[in-house]
């Protein structure tokens, strides 16, 4: 079962229901509690290639749930430096721990200024409340 609804204060959010944990010149990305709850049980996650370049607002991978296959939108641009292979073999981690063990990729930021255009936890909480 999934965790309780939460949107940690230390993350930045994209309106397409993705989060970014920015640490210096790198960021870890994943999907939010709201996204995994809407998708339902995630059954397939194919981690992208390390070294690939991703662009803000564009899809960088897909997740498949019992309901549908959905694009995962990049909240920030950059180059992938690590992927969560464990979530590839255990896709339920995306449901049970979306901000922890269910992370998707780690990137080297292409344009650190982009982070200013993401939402903070309060603004994202308002967005999903509608």
């Amino acid at each position: 079962m999934a965790t309780e609804e939460s949107y940690p204060e230390d993350l930045r959010y994209h309106p397409e229901h993705d989060w970014a944990r920015i640490e210096g010149e790198e960021a870890t990305l994943g999907i939010t509690w709201f996204a995994q709850d809407s998708l339902g049980d995630v059954v397939f996650f194919d981690p992208p290639e390390v070294g690939a370049t991703i662009a803000k607002d564009e899809p960088y991978t897909e997740v498949e749930s019992v309901k549908a296959v959905s694009d995962v939108i990049a909240p920030l641009s950059g180059e992938i430096v690590a992927v969560n292979e464990r979530a590839g073999t255990n896709p339920e981690l995306i449901n049970t721990d979306p901000y922890g063990e269910g992370w998707m990729v780690r990137i080297r930021l292409g344009d650190p200024g982009e982070a200013d255009r993401l939402l903070d936890a309060a603004a994202y909480r308002d967005l999903v409340a509608d």
Binding site: G40, V42, F44, V66, K67, A68, E92
Partner: protein, 523 residues
């Protein structure tokens, strides 16, 4: 009619006999030496010699085939038992959105079983299969009239196959005009059937999603912004998967046509408009018709179906071969009579070729033609009218009471033959998801509607009752949903753990997808 006969969950801890029984394969029933039939001795002179004297060694099996060895009553029991584990249209309402689960008239079955149709070999020479070819030709003409497009091919064997055919035709059309290289993108609205983007990808095109506007139609600004000389085709369903007829359809098709693209109509929802409006008149070039939906065939579970395509004059040269042609006779008897023949690439050099073996699922053609003739043109129009009336009646019932409160209409416009409710209220206020409601409906002896589609509606329920449900049946469905919501107000756990009375209880769908078991050992 529902509610009282629903098994109370207090007894759910006691499995029913069917729940206790593990479904078996026919191989598990096999006992060496058992047979369903005794083969009589050969009457052919010399036929009683050992088989290795009759057939060359190279053509003989080294080991016997692994076939189940079962008596005839055991075979009958096995398949009867399996069929009882299934829910079917002959058991109750089956309101799957965009699947048009209408009653299959038994008259169609009688006609399809006539030996002249049922026992005809597909390799029979055209001269000896004139009746079958005439039926194919006549069905093509009838579908042409329904679609408002002059040319038809019955080759595609499913809606998705028709889509692929339409995209291959689009590719051939652009290549013929020297634009094959530049036209790389296909537009499809975000409400499109999942098969549309899949077919686009399979045909080697890139999918571009068009947004839905606030009224549930194509967002015209988004369409104009994305329409340019790189667009090969627009794929559209109208009415769309929200059950809404797009009032801007003429402008939509004109926009893409002026940019040089072809226009593809997904006929999944044709049951809403037969005899009232025609895709050809709306400006479409290519239409697929699901004979198994709109023209009443037993379907589900993989077929057989048929997805014929109707096309405009500019697409016609590329249609698949062989094509059935009517050759007018000179009059009089014998050689002068009208006949039907098959034409291949020699006569149609720009054809995209064959899409399958032989002529298609012929039994499906016979049933569809019997359906069309038995209803007639007025009857088809009335079928669509009644389908729309039934959907709107059911919607009116479902806007009352708890259903109206917890399951509101997703886009508040008058729908055609189907409508989409949002279960977000039930999820938020009652703590039951659309999936729970769907599972609980099974305990009421009803098949649930389509759930979680279209994707843009949260917790969607997509309901298409069809014209063949009675008012009592529609009332019963509305009452069952209302009863489930009333029950959930008292105890949502009942729906969350449903179903209770089905051959199997709640299945682990996520587990099945994550760790599929797709091989069954023979022993």
């Amino acid at each position: 009619m529902s509610g009282a006969d629903v098994n109370p969950p207090a007894t759910a801890a006691v499995p029913t006999p069917m729940q206790r029984e593990r479904a078996t394969t026919i191989f598990e029933r096999s006992v060496p030496g058992r047979r369903a039939a005794a083969v009589p001795p050969s009457g052919v002179p010399g036929g009683d010699r050992p088989i290795d004297e009759l057939i060359p060694a190279a053509l003989l099996r080294r080991e016997p085939a692994r076939l189940p060895e079962v008596s005839e009553p055991e075979i009958v029991r096995h398949y009867t038992r399996l069929s009882r584990r299934n829910f079917d249209l002959d058991s109750g309402i089956y309101p799957l959105g965009s699947c048009t689960m209408k009653h299959n008239p038994r008259l169609n079955e009688r006609v399809a079983a006539l030996p002249g149709y049922a026992r005809l070999h597909p390799a029979q020479a055209p001269a000896r299969a004139q009746g079958a070819l005439e039926l194919i030709w006549s069905l093509e003409r009838a579908l042409s009239e329904v679609c408002g497009l002059p040319h038809v091919s019955l080759q595609p064997s499913a809606g998705s196959h028709g889509e692929l055919a339409g995209l291959l035709l689009t590719r051939a059309f652009h290549a013929d005009r020297g634009e094959g290289e530049i036209r790389t993108r296909v537009l499809a609205p975000d409400t499109a059937h999942g098969t549309n983007p899949a077919s686009v990808t399979m045909a080697g095109y890139e999918v571009v999603k068009i947004a839905t506007d606030g009224r549930g139609g194509v967002d015209l600004d988004d369409l104009r912004a994305k329409t340019d000389e790189s667009v090969a085709c627009l794929m559209l369903t109208n009415p769309n998967t929200l059950g809404l007829f797009d009032p801007n359809i003429a402008e939509i098709t004109a926009t893409v046509r002026e940019a040089g693209g072809t226009l593809y109509y997904d006929g999944a929802n044709l049951n809403a408009i037969m005899g009232h409006s025609r895709p050809g008149d709306m400006g479409f070039d290519i239409v697929h018709v699901n004979l198994h939906k709109s023209f009443s065939q037993p379907h589900g579970g993989g077929g057989p179906g048929a997805g014929p395509i109707a096309v405009s004059d500019r697409i016609e040269p590329f249609l698949p071969v062989p094509r059935v042609e009517r050759v007018e006779g000179a009059g009089g008897n014998g050689a002068g009579a009208t006949r039907f023949d098959l034409r291949d690439e020699a006569e149609h050099p720009r054809s995209i070729g064959r899409l399958r073996g032989f002529q298609g699922n012929f039994g499906v053609f016979v049933r569809a033609y019997a359906y069309i003739l038995s209803l007639g043109a007025d009857g088809l129009a009335e079928a669509s009218e009644t389908a729309v009336l039934n959907a709107n009646y059911l919607l009116a019932r479902m806007r009352e009471g708890r259903t109206g409160r917890y399951l509101p209409l997703a886009f508040d416009r008058r729908p055609m033959h189907e409508f989409v409710l949002s279960g977000s209220g039930a999820k938020r206020e009652l703590g039951i998801k659309t999936l729970d409601l769907a599972k609980r409906l099974l305990d009421h002896g009803m098949h649930p509607p389509t759930v979680y589609f279209p994707l843009l509606v949260d917790e969607a329920l997509m309901i298409e009752p069809t014209e063949t449900e009675t008012r009592e049946s529609l009332d019963g469905f509305a009452a069952a949903v209302e009863a489930i919501l009333a029950e959930a107000e008292e105890d949502p756990e009942i729906a969350r753990r449903a179903p209770y009375t089905t051959p199997v209880r709640r299945l682990d769908e996520a587990g099945a997808a994550r760790n599929p078991v797709i091989r069954q050992a023979l022993d």
